[in-house]
């Protein structure tokens, strides 16, 4: 508690890495380069481009006042994507708000995401942007939780339900390193250990929890070692290396699927931009820090690898970028074109069946008010006129 400003302590690089920052394969890691088809590698690249493009577009829209608050995963995109790519259709994905790449990989509808960012209700979005209720051949995707860490126990229970019913699905959940300080995180891990739940929990350690550095979040040397408290296996990987993430998560997912229980994985990365559009990180950290981390950028690294490996060439790159730009612009426009949500939506889906006297009465009150009437004239409970 002595320092005047929280100096960022550069996290230990004692972690699993396959790709060096310059896109070369690390000495001795050749054997670990995952066997992934050329097509799949290009798909990964496309998702990375889409993620970066979409988040930049959203930040611009936020600045123009189109939406109220936006967060970005710039520099962290390999964590979500590498992990998501290790899943199979039918698995369950519990992202936090910095894994856009994970949901884009599994074809989350961007128009709906946009409509959500605009503050529409899910019912309303569903109505105006119809789609089969589940994407075919996709994973099941949860919305992200607002209460940090609150979905960790949920993911554990979700996986347990599969296990108890003999279904071979895995649940995979993300949490920021800051959120590991919440009780929910430990509850989830402890139950996962005891109940042998087939799940994988990923701590995406981007070094900051808004203004609080990872070094202030815990005295533990790593976030991976938090698993020791719960008897779970744990891994620590370079989160900016998509191969390392994919390989490690794949092994954990396969193990869970085979009945081997849960794993905790720490992916070491860095939040390049502000926490979200309401934040200004210049107040609490130095530019140098981000500059250093930019040299470890996961997208450039992977891109170099693809160029070196002859998978990508300039023309393809340009084509992918242009396609992404065009598609996302269309999706965003579709999302923005959704008409405003009706106030009455607020009463939907709290309970199934009858909502009860008071809610029914209040719903009528609001309708009356919106119709220009006085909603408080009912003095006998017989109903708002």
């Amino acid at each position: 508690m002595g320092e005047k400003k929280w100096a960022e302590v550069r996290p230990s690089e004692d972690y699993f890495r396959i790709l060096n920052p310059d896109g070369s394969v690390k000495d001795g890691a050749k054997a670990s380069v995952p066997e992934v088809s050329r097509e799949e590698l290009l798909r990964w690249y496309e998702v990375l481009v889409e993620t970066r493009t979409f988040e930049a577009m959203v930040l611009r829209l936020q600045r123009r006042g189109v939406l109220s608050v936006a967060a970005s995963s710039r520099g962290e995109e390999a964590c979500g994507l590498g992990a998501a790519a290790a899943l199979q259709a039918g698995d369950w994905l519990f992202p936090a708000y910095r894994q856009l790449s994970a949901v884009l990989y599994w074809n989350a509808p961007v128009d709906r995401i946009m409509a959500g960012l605009m503050g529409n209700t899910p019912e309303h979005i569903r109505e105006h942007l119809p789609l089969p209720p589940e994407l075919p051949h996709s994973v099941n995707m949860m919305p992200y939780p607002i209460f940090l860490g609150a979905y960790i126990p949920l993911a554990v229970g979700c996986a347990l339900a599969d296990k108890l019913n003999g279904r071979k699905h895995v649940s995979l959940a993300f949490v920021g390193e800051g959120s590991t300080s919440e009780g929910d995180f430990h509850d989830g891990l402890n139950f996962a250990g005891v109940l042998e739940s087939p799940c994988v929990i990923i701590v995406q350690n981007n070094q900051w929890s808004i203004s609080v550095p990872a070094s202030r979040q815990t005295a533990a040397a790593t976030f991976a070692q938090k698993a020791v408290a719960h008897g779970l296996p744990h891994e620590r990987v370079d989160g900016n290396d998509i191969f390392a993430v994919y390989d490690t998560v794949k092994k954990a997912v396969d193990r869970a699927r085979a009945g081997g229980g849960a794993t905790l994985i720490e992916a070491v990365t860095y939040r390049i931009l502000d926490h979200n559009s309401a934040d200004s990180s210049a107040v609490y950290r130095t530019e140098d820090e981000a500059e250093y981390w930019k040299t470890l950028d996961p997208v450039e690294r992977f891109e170099k690898y693809l160029f070196n490996a002859g998978v990508l060439e300039q023309a393809t790159k340009t084509a992918i970028e242009e396609r992404a730009e065009k598609r996302l612009r269309e999706e965003i426009d579709r999302g923005r074109a959704v008409p405003p949500t009706s106030p009455d939506d607020m009463f939907l889906h709290h309970l199934q069946g009858e909502p009860g006297w008071s809610v029914k009465h209040q719903r009528d009150e609001l309708a009356c008010e919106l119709a220009g009437g006085n909603p408080f004239l009912d003095m006998t409970g017989e109903g708002v006129q």
């Binding site: 899910p122 126990p153 108890l164 929910d184 139950f191 709290h350």
Partner: protein, 337 residues
Amino acid sequence: MTRINELPVTEDMNLVTAVTHTLRQEMQRDPSVRVMGYDIGPIGGVFRATEGLFDEFGPERVIDTPLSENGLLGVAVGMAMRGERPVIEMQFLAFMYNAWGQFIYNLANLHQKTGGAMKVPLTIRATFGGGIKPLPFHSDSTEAYLMHTPGVRVVCPSTPAQAKGLLAAAIRSDDPVVFLEHTKMYRSFREPVPVADYTLPLDKCRVVQEGSDLTLIAWGNMLHYSIAAAAAVAAATHASIEIIDMCSLAPLDVAPVLASVKKTGRCVIVHEARRTAGPGAEISALINEYALEYLKAPVKRVTAFDVFFPENQIEDAYLPSPGRIKSGIEAVLNYQF
């Protein structure tokens, strides 16, 4: 909805055996019903409400968990959203304060958050209420916290037969339901409970006794004290007292209360919960809003006091007694504008 008294075969049960019986029946009926909690396995719960279930259904249906209310609730919600029907035991209602985050954010909110795409068909059985002189915080009646929270149903039975029907309905409901079991009532009396399978509505209060001079509202163990108090008053004055068992606390079944008070013009609300911002406040405010014209006297709340549940030596003075309820009835009955 079956009429209970049309079911001929009955067995005498008390509240706790009715709960066990119902859990067993529902578990036999539906394999997705799983009982979860700490101490609910081989020991059958500290009140023995799950006795025998572990032996009958095994450890995948009766899941003993680590000692964390928050973990228990969160994991069970995760199961429920996948179609399981967990019935979790909250050993004492007050321990749920530790799980308040999961309660609000996941249990109560998940259905709404997902625009109805996900359901949480989960039942929390929570023991509550005073009278058995246990340890501190083992007698809390904080149903008002629950009632102020959207997205969750709250019911409280006051007889074994009612407990069966409400618990079965809670388990079958696709909504999260808190089912309140009063510790003092667990073994306080038996009654014949139909052996066949039935449910009771989760959203309907119950008129226990009709009357024209005063409406008396209570639930749980307080209903029994209220019946006794009403009988004592009636014996002395021939007053005709309507008694409502407010077993459906959330959503509150308002219409019968308003109808009754419009008829009687007088009302007393009884609860074990603390008074300020307690359940009675809502009922009284609704009467104030929608039946004021009919009132012949102030609505009085006969309750415990705005303090933490006290030490054993003085808990009798804290809880409403039949005597205190009688005073409340008399005060309201005798009032003239």
